[in-house]
């Protein structure tokens, strides 16, 4: 399995290197879909230039990266392209190893449930076999590395790649079962972009499941483990934030980074829903709707945790998708991360209802984004509504994709426990509805 992975990595690196040398690199770096005010490379360079001039990078409204990025690129600015290529490769390798381990866990669990007779007798075709699971890790790495979104993100040198890398390592650490490393990487991911805070719940559920601790509110061991994990997470977060203080000897980075993410003052267009909404918002309601939109990202966690407590990896996937869709400054790099997981759920294909329409919507929207941007900004023959419409369509497409996968997952679970060929009381074939 290592050889195909190496081939994929080589192909990905070649594509990226070719694009770096071409004239498309400048064009891609300016795309608003790829570079947002939070993770554009131009702003990192600007922040470092301000530091050279003796002005704090956080004194203006240009630089919104964490001090970790300043530390990293202060020394590595000459090798930026190499850094981003290596980051992408590391992400892909981490995902590969994680999914490999996850498949083993899934297979073991499946075997256990079959032996315990939890499955209905006629569901043989729904059971995943090692044969079909064999190529899934490679497909995941392929989906991530050769996804045009990831390639564009890498060529634009958007620091989204670093965020994705940290999340990938977090997933790897969680699947391997190391609570400490998982907490550290989760703290790093939260420190970088705040929203991975919601990934605490699926990671906790996965680790509990791995330790065979039942998830009951009255159980003492449940609370003990939760407290342990939470304290590991919070301590690492506090340590990282304190280390950041010592870079510039000020807490200026907190309003500049987290205040910026939460209050959304910059209305530069992107593929998300926030920018036009707040550009057209009545001033009186601005604060209210900012709060509503931010709560929207966080409040799906508890209900999903309750529903999907037996399936924490699927919960992780849905949560990642929700973060990518509803965060304040999304880019296609965030979309690429959750799309990398789609091969893991390829066994749900037969239950997906709208996959053709949705993939068409997503592909067409991806092509229309630069076209309508050009028409608005350069040609002047369209206005902002055109670009906004494509944003809406793209987000609806993503939302329906996730809910389609969710539906398919739940349906398969029902079939596994109740049998594939359902009959009604009078013996005729039955339909399954959600009631």
């Amino acid at each position: 399995m290592a050889a195909p992975l190496v081939l994929v990595v080589l192909a990905a690196v070649t594509v990226r290197a070719a694009l770096y040398r071409s004239s498309l690199a400048v064009f891609i770096a300016e795309r608003v879909e790829v570079a947002s005010p939070l993770n554009a490379w131009k702003r990192v360079v600007e922040g470092l230039a301000l530091l050279d001039l003796g002005v704090s990078p956080y004194s203006g409204a240009i630089f919104h990266e964490t001090p970790l990025i300043i530390y990293l690129f202060h020394f590595l600015i000459e090798y930026a392209e190499l850094v981003f290529m290596i980051t992408d490769v590391l992400t892909a390798v981490a995902l590969y190893l994680a999914i490999q381990d996850f498949n083993k866990v899934v297979f073991k669990k499946q075997k256990l449930l079959i032996e315990l007779d939890k499955y209905a007798p006629d569901v043989a075709e729904l059971i995943q076999t090692p044969m079909e699971m064999h190529y899934i890790p490679l497909k995941v790495a392929l989906f991530y590395l050769l996804n045009p979104y990831t390639v564009m993100s890498c060529v634009a040198k958007s620091t989204c790649a670093i965020n994705n890398s940290v999340i990938a390592f977090f997933i790897l650490a969680t699947i391997k079962g190391s609570a400490f490393l998982s907490a550290v990487f989760l703290a790093l991911a939260t420190y970088q972009s705040l929203y991975p805070l919601t990934l605490f719940a699926p990671a906790l559920l996965y680790l509990l499941q791995r330790q065979f601790i039942p998830i009951k509110l009255k159980s003492k061991s449940f609370w003990l483990y939760t407290m342990q994990y939470a304290s590991l997470y919070l301590c690492s977060l506090v340590v990282i934030i304190c280390l950041s203080f010592f870079l510039l000897n000020s807490w200026d980075f907190i309003p500049s980074v987290y205040g910026f993410i939460l209050s959304v003052p910059d209305l530069t267009p992107n593929i998300g829903l926030f920018w036009y909404f707040f550009a057209e918002m009545f001033e009186h309601f601005s604060l209210f709707f900012v709060c509503v939109f931010q709560i929207n990202v966080f409040f799906y966690t508890i209900p999903l945790a309750i529903k999907l407590k037996e399936h924490p990896m699927f919960f992780m996937f849905v949560q990642l998708a929700i973060i990518s869709i509803f965060k304040s400054y999304p880019t296609v790099g965030d979309v690429a991360l959750y799309m990398a997981f789609l091969p893991v759920w390829s066994h749900l294909y037969r239950f997906l209802r709208n996959i053709f329409i949705l993939s068409c919507v997503l592909i067409f929207c991806s092509f229309l984004f630069p076209v309508l941007w050009h028409l608005w900004i350069y040609a002047g023959s369209a206005n902002s509504n055109f670009y906004y419409a494509i944003t809406l369509t793209f987000n609806v497409g993503q939302i329906l994709l996730i809910s389609d996968y969710f539906y398919a997952f739940l349906r398969r679970e029902y079939y596994l426990t109740h049998g594939l060929h359902l009959t009604r009381q009078d013996g005729t074939e039955a339909m399954l509805v959600l009631k």
Binding site: E30, V32, K42, V45, E46, L48, A49, L50, L53, V55, S59, G60, A61, I62, P265, D266, L267, T268, P269, L273, W275, Y276, F277, F278, A279, E280, M281, F282, E283, P303, L304, I306, K307, I325, F326, I377, Y378, G380, N383, S384, N385, Y388, L392, V396, I399, S403, F406, Y407, L410, Y414, L422, R424, Q425, D426, A430, M431, L432, V433, L434, K435
Partner: protein
């Protein structure tokens, strides 16, 4: 005996009652003096520039001591200076742009719109509060919208603006500078300005200030400068000086009807009839320097009372002087109409190029990015000199200082001093100050890239597609080398137009230039759509919420056959008629 005693008592009472509180100043005379002058300078392109200066000097200390008796110094401004702790105040309202390249160095230039810069006294504790109050009060005095000056267009330059009057210590935190590029100047601003003059517009040079001619011009700038000056050569006491200046350039084609001969009547549709009785000096200067020093170019009539030579802006210039206070002037006619006639046609090759001039423009295309390019020309054949460049850019054009490039003669030119303060969204603008050395006979190009921000729909001005004025023109302050060395001169004796800027030594003179205001378009949202956008975006969020709600709260069930709705039963009835099996 009794009568003498009563008389002595009366005398004693009168003497004792003499220096009462109301006449406390009668003992020490608080002298104030008004000097007015008009400078007419024909410009190389055939236009003519007229600069009025009215200078009131008051030997009183406005900061200390309760000053209650105002004579020539206007009470509105005096009380302003005393109450808000103002050390220096410079306010200019300008319409049009001074074309340095074609008209030469300006005597006093100001950027288009309103410009206000103020040095406060060190005793002022909250400078921002004083600044806000000051701009509001000035807005009322001059009928200008100076109340729009707030933190988004105020900057604190560190090197470009030094005090023009007496100062001990220059902590630049006491300085505030703001420009309002969209401000329009009209008669409403001229009237209160004229009211501040001691004679109003009824006598003296101010009778020429009639709005219908003054605003029919290429350039109109009226300014107020208040500053403390030395009372005498020993500088033991401080006097306050108020200068009101008005510069207007009459266009050769529109006002001159295509003929280059000018006269006071042609320019102002008025002539001078008498002097202001409150003025101690009232003169008209006409610039008649011969350009090629062979013979004179310009003939003035009636013959001037005297001829004055001065070294102004580094060059020796000759002026014909009409002293309105001299009795011989109004002997022949009741009114004075100075006429300027060209003796021979002017050669275009004689047009002198100013030593320092600059240009600024916006480069790039589209509504996403752009760049500001400033070109500075040093046309001196062998002397290099430094220039301080001040750029204030509003926050919605996000400057990237790592893209700043300064190129002179094809090579990079590193500034010896850079002060950059990045903008904060909706709070303060960008401030960039640089000290650049301009080599002799060179063009320096300074470019910096910016990104255009999308604003909230309420932040756009009316007619948003007109664009935003980036009128914070680059301010260039330089000590330009003089052609002729200037001697130290006595401020009281020399004409007013030579003594506004203090000169440290005779080898160079101070020049402050402003570049063109820029007009930049920003991407606009659709202003008719707030409700639609809110509904559509909330719909998308609701789609997610609805789908997830369904999937989270409902479970799968085997569908029970339903009895059939109304439609099904109707369909079965029709089928029975047709003889087809029912559904």
């Amino acid at each position: 005996g009794g009568m003498a005693a009563a008389a002595a008592l009366l005398l004693l009472l009168v003497v004792a009652a003499g220096p009462g509180p109301g006449r406390a100043g009668a003992g020490q005379e608080r002298r104030d003096a008004l000097r007015e002058e008009l400078l007419l300078s024909p410009l190389p392109t055939g236009d003519v520039a007229a600069t009025f200066q009215f200078r009131t000097r008051w030997d009183a200390d406005l900061q200390r001591g309760a000053v209650s008796h105002y004579r020539l110094f206007p009470k509105a401004l005096g009380r302003l200076v005393a109450a808000l702790g103002v050390r220096e105040l410079h306010l200019a309202l300008t319409q049009g742009f001074w074309r340095t390249r074609y008209w030469g160095q300006p005597p006093l230039q100001a950027p288009a719109g309103a410009e206000l810069w103020v040095w406060f006294q060190p005793t002022v504790t909250d400078v921002d509060k004083a600044w806000k109050e000051l701009s509001n009060i000035l807005s009322g005095i001059f009928c200008a919208s100076l109340n729009f000056i707030d933190s988004t267009n105020t900057v604190i330059p560190t090197a470009s603006f030094k005090p023009l009057g007496l100062a001990n210590g220059t902590d630049h935190h006491l300085l505030r500078y703001a420009v309002l590029p969209r401000e329009v100047v009209c008669t409403e601003n001229l009237t209160p300005w004229k009211k501040l003059l001691p004679c109003g517009s009824k006598a003296g040079l101010a009778v020429l200030l009639k709005a219908e001619r003054l605003f029919h011009s290429s350039y109109h700038s009226q300014a107020v400068h208040i500053r403390p000056v030395c009372r005498d050569a020993s500088c033991l006491a401080v006097s306050w000086e108020l200068r009101q200046t008005l510069t207007v350039v009459f266009d050769f084609f529109s006002s001159g009807q295509g003929k280059k001969d000018w006269s006071l009547f042609k320019m102002f549709s008025r002539t001078l009839t008498d002097t202001c009785p409150l003025a101690s000096q009232s003169k008209v200067y006409v610039h008649i320097s011969p350009k090629n020093k062979e013979k004179e170019l310009l003939e003035v009539s009636p013959p001037p009372t005297s001829v004055h030579e001065a070294i102004v802006q580094g060059e020796k210039k000759t002026y014909a002087v009409y002293d309105l206070l001299s009795p011989s002037l109004f002997n022949t006619s009741r009114s004075l109409n100075v006429q300027l006639k060209w003796k021979r046609p002017q050669d275009s090759s004689e047009m002198p190029i100013p030593t320092l001039h600059a240009q600024r423009y916006v480069g790039g295309y589209g509504l996403q990015t752009g760049q500001i390019c400033t070109l500075i020309y040093n046309t001196h054949p062998y002397r290099a000199f430094p220039v301080i460049l001040l750029e204030t850019v509003p926050w919605y054009l996000r400057l990237y200082v790592h893209t700043l490039t300064i190129i002179t003669k094809g090579k990079e030119n590193k500034p010896s001093y850079i002060h950059y303060q990045p903008a904060q969204d909706r709070r303060r603008p960008h401030l960039l100050e640089m000290l650049i050395q301009l080599p002799a006979n060179s063009v320096t190009k300074i470019t910096i890239q910016f990104e255009r921000a999308l604003l909230k729909w309420t932040e756009y001005p009316p007619d948003p597609n007109h664009g935003f004025y980036v009128g914070y023109s680059s301010v260039l302050s330089a000590l330009v080398p003089s052609v002729t060395a200037m001697k130290d001169m006595d401020v009281e004796q020399s004409p007013l137009f030579t003594s506004l800027f203090p000169s440290s030594d005779g080898s160079s003179y101070f020049v402050r230039l402003y570049t063109e205001p820029l007009l930049v378009n920003l991407p606009t949202p659709d202003f008719s759509m707030p409700y639609n956008v809110i509904c559509l975006t909330c719909t998308v969020v609701a789609v997610c919420y609805g789908s997830f709600y369904n999937l989270l709260t409902r479970t799968f069930h085997v569908e029970e056959p339903s009895r059939g709705g109304l439609a099904k039963r109707l369909a079965n009835v029709i089928r029975k008629f047709r003889g087809v099996p029912p559904l």
